[in-house]
Protein backbone atom coordinates (compact mmCIF):
# COMPACT_ATOMS: atom_id res chain seq x y z
CA UNK A 1 0.00 0.00 0.00
CA UNK A 2 2.75 2.35 1.04
CA UNK A 3 4.76 1.44 -2.00
CA UNK A 4 1.75 2.02 -4.24
CA UNK A 5 1.26 5.49 -2.71
CA UNK A 6 4.91 6.38 -3.35
CA UNK A 7 4.61 5.14 -6.90
CA UNK A 8 1.45 7.12 -7.56
CA UNK A 9 2.84 10.29 -6.03
CA UNK A 10 6.00 9.99 -8.13
CA UNK A 11 3.80 9.84 -11.22
CA UNK A 12 1.37 12.59 -10.27
CA UNK A 13 3.40 15.18 -8.35
CA UNK A 14 5.45 16.36 -11.34
CA UNK A 15 2.20 16.63 -13.28
CA UNK A 16 0.64 18.71 -10.50
CA UNK A 17 3.71 20.96 -10.41
CA UNK A 18 3.54 21.43 -14.19
CA UNK A 19 -0.14 22.35 -14.01
CA UNK A 20 0.54 24.99 -11.38
CA UNK A 21 0.40 28.49 -12.83
CA UNK A 22 3.29 30.93 -12.82
CA UNK A 23 3.48 33.01 -9.68
CA UNK A 24 1.96 36.46 -10.07
CA UNK A 25 1.33 39.34 -7.67
CA UNK A 26 -2.26 38.21 -7.02
CA UNK A 27 -2.26 39.15 -3.32
CA UNK A 28 -1.21 42.69 -4.11
CA UNK A 29 -4.09 42.94 -6.57
CA UNK A 30 -6.73 41.36 -4.34
CA UNK A 31 -6.03 43.64 -1.34
CA UNK A 32 -5.99 46.72 -3.56
CA UNK A 33 -2.43 47.85 -2.78
CA UNK A 34 -1.74 47.93 -6.52
CA UNK A 35 -3.86 51.11 -6.67
CA UNK A 36 -1.32 52.91 -4.47
CA UNK A 37 1.38 52.08 -7.04
CA UNK A 38 -0.85 53.21 -9.92
CA UNK A 39 -1.67 56.48 -8.09
CA UNK A 40 2.01 57.23 -7.39
CA UNK A 41 3.07 56.62 -11.00
CA UNK A 42 0.18 58.74 -12.31
CA UNK A 43 1.06 61.63 -9.96
CA UNK A 44 4.67 61.62 -11.21
CA UNK A 45 3.55 61.32 -14.83
CA UNK A 46 1.06 64.19 -14.52
CA UNK A 47 3.60 66.32 -12.68
CA UNK A 48 5.94 65.90 -15.64
CA UNK A 49 3.12 66.54 -18.15
CA UNK A 50 2.20 69.74 -16.31
CA UNK A 51 5.83 70.85 -16.34
CA UNK A 52 6.05 70.20 -20.09
CA UNK A 53 2.81 72.14 -20.74
CA UNK A 54 4.19 75.10 -18.76
CA UNK A 55 7.47 74.94 -20.69
CA UNK A 56 5.52 74.84 -23.96
CA UNK A 57 3.54 77.97 -22.95
CA UNK A 58 6.68 79.80 -21.90
CA UNK A 59 8.29 79.12 -25.29
CA UNK A 60 5.10 80.31 -27.03
CA UNK A 61 5.31 83.58 -25.09
CA UNK A 62 8.96 84.08 -26.09
CA UNK A 63 8.05 83.28 -29.71
CA UNK A 64 5.37 85.98 -29.64
CA UNK A 65 7.86 88.45 -28.22
CA UNK A 66 10.54 87.87 -30.88
CA UNK A 67 7.90 87.20 -33.63
CA UNK A 68 9.26 83.92 -34.97
Amino acid sequence: MNRLFTFLSLIFIPGLLMAQEAEMADTMRSNGKIYAVVAIILVILFGLFGYLVMLDRKVSKIEKKVKV
Binding site: A22, E23, L55, V59
Partner: protein
Amino acid sequence: MKKNWWKILSIVLLTYAVLGGLLLEVPRLNIVNETIRALYFHVPMWFAMVPMFAISMVYAILYLRKLSHHSDIYSVEFANMGLVLGILGIITGMIWANYTWGTPWHGDPKQNGAAISLLVYSAYFVLRGSVQNDEQRARLSAVYNIFAFVAMVPLIFIIPRMTSSMHPGSGGNPGFNMYDLDSKMRMVFYPAVVGWNLLSVWIATVRIRLRIASEKLADQNL
Protein backbone atom coordinates in the same frame (compact mmCIF):
# COMPACT_ATOMS: atom_id res chain seq x y z
CA MET B 1 -5.87 74.41 -28.90
CA LYS B 2 -6.84 72.92 -32.28
CA LYS B 3 -3.20 72.58 -33.28
CA ASN B 4 -2.36 70.86 -30.00
CA TRP B 5 -4.80 67.91 -30.18
CA TRP B 6 -1.90 65.46 -30.58
CA LYS B 7 -0.32 66.65 -27.34
CA ILE B 8 -3.55 65.91 -25.48
CA LEU B 9 -3.73 62.56 -27.28
CA SER B 10 -0.24 61.66 -26.05
CA ILE B 11 -1.26 62.45 -22.43
CA VAL B 12 -4.43 60.35 -22.81
CA LEU B 13 -2.59 57.41 -24.39
CA LEU B 14 0.20 57.39 -21.80
CA THR B 15 -2.30 57.58 -18.93
CA TYR B 16 -4.12 54.62 -20.48
CA ALA B 17 -0.78 52.78 -20.87
CA VAL B 18 -0.04 53.13 -17.15
CA LEU B 19 -3.56 52.19 -16.05
CA GLY B 20 -3.94 49.32 -18.53
CA GLY B 21 -0.33 48.25 -18.19
CA LEU B 22 -0.57 47.80 -14.43
CA LEU B 23 -4.19 46.69 -14.03
CA LEU B 24 -5.28 44.64 -17.08
CA GLU B 25 -4.77 40.89 -17.46
CA VAL B 26 -1.45 39.58 -18.75
CA PRO B 27 -0.39 36.02 -19.67
CA ARG B 28 0.88 34.05 -16.66
CA LEU B 29 4.34 32.88 -17.70
CA ASN B 30 7.16 31.32 -15.71
CA ILE B 31 10.46 33.20 -15.19
CA VAL B 32 9.06 36.55 -16.35
CA ASN B 33 6.03 36.32 -14.02
CA GLU B 34 4.67 39.81 -13.27
CA THR B 35 7.66 41.55 -14.92
CA ILE B 36 6.00 40.87 -18.29
CA ARG B 37 4.35 44.28 -17.70
CA ALA B 38 7.75 45.92 -18.22
CA LEU B 39 7.13 45.28 -21.92
CA TYR B 40 4.61 48.15 -21.91
CA PHE B 41 7.32 50.57 -20.77
CA HIS B 42 10.69 49.19 -21.93
CA VAL B 43 9.84 48.30 -25.55
CA PRO B 44 8.06 51.63 -26.40
CA MET B 45 11.36 53.41 -25.59
CA TRP B 46 12.98 51.65 -28.57
CA PHE B 47 9.85 51.95 -30.71
CA ALA B 48 10.03 55.71 -30.13
CA MET B 49 13.82 55.98 -30.46
CA VAL B 50 13.95 54.57 -34.01
CA PRO B 51 11.37 57.04 -35.43
CA MET B 52 13.18 59.94 -33.69
CA PHE B 53 16.50 58.92 -35.29
CA ALA B 54 14.68 58.44 -38.62
CA ILE B 55 13.21 61.97 -38.44
CA SER B 56 16.67 63.24 -37.52
CA MET B 57 18.15 61.56 -40.61
CA VAL B 58 15.42 62.98 -42.87
CA TYR B 59 16.27 66.51 -41.65
CA ALA B 60 19.98 65.76 -42.15
CA ILE B 61 19.26 64.88 -45.80
CA LEU B 62 17.08 68.00 -46.12
CA TYR B 63 19.95 70.06 -44.73
CA LEU B 64 22.39 68.67 -47.29
CA ARG B 65 19.94 69.43 -50.11
CA LYS B 66 18.92 72.97 -49.14
CA LEU B 67 21.59 73.94 -46.57
CA SER B 68 18.90 75.57 -44.41
CA HIS B 69 19.94 76.31 -40.85
CA HIS B 70 16.54 75.25 -39.43
CA SER B 71 16.88 71.72 -40.80
CA ASP B 72 20.12 71.40 -38.83
CA ILE B 73 18.36 72.43 -35.60
CA TYR B 74 15.54 69.91 -36.25
CA SER B 75 18.09 67.19 -36.97
CA VAL B 76 20.05 67.76 -33.75
CA GLU B 77 17.04 67.97 -31.47
CA PHE B 78 15.41 64.81 -32.82
CA ALA B 79 18.73 62.97 -32.44
CA ASN B 80 18.92 64.31 -28.87
CA MET B 81 15.45 62.97 -28.07
CA GLY B 82 16.28 59.62 -29.66
CA LEU B 83 19.42 59.30 -27.57
CA VAL B 84 17.49 60.03 -24.36
CA LEU B 85 14.96 57.31 -25.25
CA GLY B 86 17.78 54.89 -26.11
CA ILE B 87 19.50 55.46 -22.77
CA LEU B 88 16.19 54.95 -20.93
CA GLY B 89 15.63 51.80 -23.01
CA ILE B 90 19.01 50.32 -22.18
CA ILE B 91 18.69 51.08 -18.43
CA THR B 92 15.19 49.60 -18.22
CA GLY B 93 16.43 46.62 -20.23
CA MET B 94 19.27 46.06 -17.75
CA ILE B 95 16.89 46.17 -14.78
CA TRP B 96 14.59 43.69 -16.50
CA ALA B 97 17.46 41.42 -17.56
CA ASN B 98 18.73 41.33 -13.98
CA TYR B 99 15.49 39.63 -12.93
CA THR B 100 14.88 37.37 -15.91
CA TRP B 101 18.36 36.54 -17.27
CA GLY B 102 20.08 36.76 -13.90
CA THR B 103 22.54 39.51 -14.79
CA PRO B 104 22.10 43.10 -15.98
CA TRP B 105 24.59 42.79 -18.83
CA HIS B 106 24.39 39.42 -20.47
CA GLY B 107 26.40 40.31 -23.57
CA ASP B 108 23.37 39.39 -25.60
CA PRO B 109 23.63 40.36 -29.31
CA LYS B 110 20.60 42.65 -28.98
CA GLN B 111 22.05 44.36 -25.90
CA ASN B 112 25.47 44.80 -27.47
CA GLY B 113 24.00 46.04 -30.74
CA ALA B 114 21.86 48.60 -28.92
CA ALA B 115 24.85 49.77 -26.86
CA ILE B 116 27.04 50.14 -29.97
CA SER B 117 24.41 52.12 -31.83
CA LEU B 118 24.01 54.43 -28.83
CA LEU B 119 27.78 54.96 -28.86
CA VAL B 120 27.61 55.70 -32.60
CA TYR B 121 24.99 58.36 -31.88
CA SER B 122 26.98 59.73 -28.93
CA ALA B 123 29.86 60.27 -31.37
CA TYR B 124 27.47 62.43 -33.40
CA PHE B 125 27.36 64.90 -30.51
CA VAL B 126 31.10 64.64 -29.95
CA LEU B 127 31.59 65.51 -33.63
CA ARG B 128 29.27 68.51 -33.34
CA GLY B 129 31.08 69.72 -30.26
CA SER B 130 34.45 69.55 -31.94
CA VAL B 131 33.73 71.79 -34.97
CA GLN B 132 33.78 75.57 -34.42
CA ASN B 133 32.41 76.79 -37.74
CA ASP B 134 28.57 76.62 -37.81
CA GLU B 135 28.17 75.62 -41.44
CA GLN B 136 30.96 73.05 -41.32
CA ARG B 137 29.52 71.55 -38.16
CA ALA B 138 26.06 71.27 -39.71
CA ARG B 139 27.36 69.73 -42.93
CA LEU B 140 29.74 67.21 -41.32
CA SER B 141 27.23 66.12 -38.71
CA ALA B 142 24.47 65.74 -41.33
CA VAL B 143 26.66 63.33 -43.29
CA TYR B 144 27.57 61.46 -40.10
CA ASN B 145 23.89 61.35 -39.04
CA ILE B 146 23.00 59.38 -42.19
CA PHE B 147 25.86 56.97 -41.48
CA ALA B 148 24.73 56.55 -37.85
CA PHE B 149 21.18 55.61 -38.87
CA VAL B 150 22.38 53.17 -41.51
CA ALA B 151 24.75 51.59 -38.95
CA MET B 152 21.93 51.24 -36.42
CA VAL B 153 19.70 49.12 -38.69
CA PRO B 154 21.97 46.02 -38.88
CA LEU B 155 23.08 46.46 -35.25
CA ILE B 156 19.56 46.39 -33.82
CA PHE B 157 17.40 44.67 -36.44
CA ILE B 158 19.59 42.27 -38.41
CA ILE B 159 22.55 40.90 -36.40
CA PRO B 160 20.47 39.88 -33.33
CA ARG B 161 18.16 37.90 -35.60
CA MET B 162 21.00 36.07 -37.33
CA THR B 163 22.60 34.82 -34.11
CA SER B 164 21.06 33.17 -31.10
CA SER B 165 19.84 35.62 -28.52
CA MET B 166 17.80 35.45 -25.35
CA HIS B 167 16.03 38.65 -26.24
CA PRO B 168 12.50 38.04 -27.58
CA GLY B 169 12.18 38.71 -31.28
CA SER B 170 15.75 37.57 -31.96
CA GLY B 171 17.49 34.41 -33.09
CA GLY B 172 15.64 34.02 -36.36
CA ASN B 173 12.20 34.58 -34.87
CA PRO B 174 9.91 37.20 -36.28
CA GLY B 175 9.33 40.07 -33.84
CA PHE B 176 6.01 39.09 -32.37
CA ASN B 177 4.80 35.53 -32.31
CA MET B 178 2.01 34.26 -30.09
CA TYR B 179 4.38 33.64 -27.19
CA ASP B 180 5.81 37.14 -27.22
CA LEU B 181 2.70 39.21 -27.37
CA ASP B 182 -0.91 38.06 -27.17
CA SER B 183 -3.79 40.12 -28.47
CA LYS B 184 -4.70 41.46 -25.02
CA MET B 185 -1.20 42.87 -24.58
CA ARG B 186 -1.31 44.53 -28.00
CA MET B 187 -4.31 46.56 -26.78
CA VAL B 188 -2.01 48.32 -24.31
CA PHE B 189 1.31 48.03 -26.14
CA TYR B 190 0.40 49.82 -29.38
CA PRO B 191 -1.29 52.81 -27.68
CA ALA B 192 1.79 53.09 -25.45
CA VAL B 193 4.09 53.17 -28.51
CA VAL B 194 1.99 55.89 -30.18
CA GLY B 195 1.83 57.86 -26.91
CA TRP B 196 5.58 57.79 -26.36
CA ASN B 197 6.22 58.78 -29.99
CA LEU B 198 3.89 61.78 -29.68
CA LEU B 199 5.42 62.81 -26.34
CA SER B 200 8.93 62.58 -27.84
CA VAL B 201 7.95 64.75 -30.80
CA TRP B 202 6.39 67.21 -28.34
CA ILE B 203 9.55 67.49 -26.22
CA ALA B 204 11.76 67.75 -29.32
CA THR B 205 9.62 70.49 -30.88
CA VAL B 206 9.60 72.54 -27.66
CA ARG B 207 13.40 72.46 -27.69
CA ILE B 208 13.53 73.30 -31.41
CA ARG B 209 11.18 76.28 -30.93
CA LEU B 210 13.22 77.51 -27.99
CA ARG B 211 16.44 77.31 -30.01
CA ILE B 212 14.98 79.12 -33.02
CA ALA B 213 13.44 81.82 -30.79
CA SER B 214 16.62 82.40 -28.81
CA GLU B 215 18.68 82.69 -32.01
CA LYS B 216 16.18 85.22 -33.33
CA LEU B 217 16.44 87.12 -30.05
CA ALA B 218 20.24 87.15 -30.32
CA ASP B 219 19.97 88.50 -33.89
CA GLN B 220 17.58 91.27 -32.80
CA ASN B 221 19.94 92.35 -30.04
CA LEU B 222 22.87 92.70 -32.41
